[in-house]
Amino acid sequence: MKTKKELKKEIIIQAALELFSKKGFYTTTIPDIAKSLKMSVGNMYNYFKSKDILAKEILKHISHYLGEELKNINEKDITTKEKTKQIVTVYFQTANLKPEMIDYFLRVFLSNREVFKEGCEGMICVNDFVTEIMIYFEDGVKNGELRDQDFFSAFGLFMGYLGGMVFLKGEDILPNGLDTYIDDISNNIYKALKV
C-alpha cells in the first residue's frame, strides 16, 4: 500500500513527464511543474529537493514500472518465445499509453547524461528493469531456447531494436501504429537470440 506521500510523488512525476515531453527538459522548471499541479513551489521542494533529484527519481520510477511489468511476464510459465512477444508488447503499449515515459528515456536520459552522472552511475537507476531483462535472458538459456552469449551483445540487440522503433514512431516516420509491428519484431528478436 503506497503512502500518501508516495502517491503524491507519482502524480508530480507524471506531470513532470508530460511537461518535459511537451516543452523540453531544460526549459521546464520546478515552478512550471508546481504551477501545473496547482502546488506551491515550497511544497514541491518537500517532495523533490531539486530538478536533478527529480530527474533521477523519474528514471527509477520508469525503471520500476517497466520492471514490474516484465517481472509479471518472467514469472509466467510460458516459453521464452512467448515471453519475447509479451515483452515487446508491453514496451510498445507503454510507448502508446505513456509516450512521455519512453520519450523521457530516449530524449532526456540518453541525451543529458551529465545530469545523471552522480547518483545514477552505471545502470543503478534502471536496475529494476535491467534485472528483469537479465532474468529473461538467463531463463531462456537455462531452458535451452536462447544461445548462451555475452549479456551486453544480447541486451544491445533487444533494447537497441525496441528503442529504435519507438524513436522512429516519435519522429512520425512509421506509417502504422507500433502494435502492427509486434509480431515481426518479436520474431526477429527471438530468431536472432535463439539457439
Binding site: 545502470m123 532474468i135 555475452d150
Partner: protein
C-alpha cells in the same frame, strides 16, 4: 567409548585427515578403536566380521557397493550387525554419506542413506541414529568434536542431510580472505594472484557449499580459497560436479547463486556494485 572404523570403497583420505587432528594422543585416551584401518587394535578384521564385538559407534568410510565384501563377508551383513548394536553411526566423508567420487551410472553404489540427493531405504532402520560428516576428506576437528559430543551426550542438531548444523549450517564462503572481491563483485580473478574472487569465472562453489573450511582452517593454517584454489563443493551430495574449475553462466549470470539468495536480490546487488569502479580492488595488493 568403543569405535569401529570400517573402510568400504575408500581412498583412505579420511583416515589420514583424521591423523592430522592436533590432539590425537588425547583423543586416543578418551576413545578406543575396536578396529581401525591403520591404528593397532586388539581385533583383526577377521575377528570383526566373524564375532560380535561390543561397539558404541560405527564409523563407515567409503562408498557402499552391492556385493562388496570385507574379509569375505558381505558389507551389508557387517553394517547391519554393528549398526543395530551401536548407539550412533557416523558416515565419515562424502563417499559414505552420499556416494561421492566413486559413483558410477548404475544404482549399485551409494552412500549409507543417500545416493547424491536422493534418499534410499536400504538401511532404513539405521537412519535415526546416523550422523553424516561429509567432506572429501573430512575435517578432523569436525569428526572429533562430533564424537566428543556423542560421548558427552550433547544434542546435535542435524540438517536435512543428517549433517550437524554446527559445522554445516555456514557456507565455506564465510571467512574467506578474498571476500572483498566477492562483496563488490570484482570479477577479474586470475590464477597465481593474491587478489580476486574465484566465484565469477573459476568455479568456486564456496558461496553455496555447506561447511566450515574458512572458519576452522585446514591443518590449522589455511584453506583452499585463501590460497586461490576454488572450493569444489566436496561436502555436498552433488560432489563431484563437472568442469570444476569453471563457473557455469547463463548469459553472464552464474548458474548457482549464493545459498538462499534470491535471484533478483543477487542481480540487483550485482548491478549496483558493478556500477562503481573501486580503484583499490582493481590494483595488485603488493603494488610497487
Amino acid at each position: 567409548m568403543k569405535l569401529l572404523w570400517l573402510n568400504l570403497l575408500s581412498c583412505n583420505g579420511n583416515v589420514h585427515s583424521f591423523l592430522n587432528y592436533p590432539h590425537i594422543e588425547k583423543f586416543l585416551e578418551d576413545f578406543s578403536f575396536i578396529y581401525h584401518p591403520i591404528l593397532e587394535t586388539s581385533y583383526s578384521l577377521q575377528d570383526i566380521v566373524s564375532q560380535n564385538i561390543d561397539c558404541d559407534i560405527l564409523l563407515l568410510d567409503g562408498t557402499l557397493e552391492d556385493g562388496h565384501t570385507k574379509a569375505d563377508v558381505d558389507i551389508k551383513t557387517i553394517i547391519e550387525k554393528y549398526g543395530i548394536k551401536a548407539k550412533k553411526i557416523i558416515t565419515v566423508g562424502t563417499c559414505a554419506s552420499f556416494g561421492g567420487i566413486f559413483l558410477n551410472d548404475e544404482d549399485t553404489k551409494y552412500g549409507l542413506h543417500f545416493r547424491q540427493k536422493l534418499e534410499h531405504n536400504r538401511y532404513k532402520k539405521l537412519k535415526n541414529k546416523t550422523i553424516n560428516i561429509s567432506g572429501c576428506p573430512i575435517h578432523p576437528e569436525i569428526l572429533v568434536n562430533t564424537l566428543y559430543s556423542i560421548k558427552k551426550e550433547y544434542e546435535l542438531k542435524l540438517d536435512q542431510y543428517l549433517r550437524p548444523k554446527e559445522f554445516y549450517a555456514t557456507t565455506v564462503h564465510n571467512g574467506c580472505t578474498r571476500n572483498e572481491y566477492f562483496e563488490y563483485k570484482i570479477d577479474n580473478h586470475k590464477f597465481g594472484n593474491l587478489e580476486g574472487c574465484m566465484f565469477y569465472d573459476h568455479g568456486c562453489q564456496a558461496p553455496y557449499t555447506n561447511g566450515s573450511c574458512n572458519k576452522i582452517l585446514w591443518n590449522e593454517v589455511n584453506s583452499k580459497t585463501r590460497v586461490g584454489h576454488p572450493c569444489m563443493g566436496c561436502t555436498e551430495p552433488t560432489f563431484p560436479k563437472n568442469n570444476l574449475f569453471e563457473t557455469k553462466t547463463n548469459m553472464g549470470i552464474p548458474q548457482y547463486l549464493p545459498l538462499g539468495v534470491p535471484k533478483r536480490a543477487y542481480l540487483s546487488l550485482a548491478g549496483v556494485a558493478k556500477a562503481f569502479k573501486i580503484e583499490r580492488f582493481e590494483k595488485k595488493l603488493m603494488d610497487n
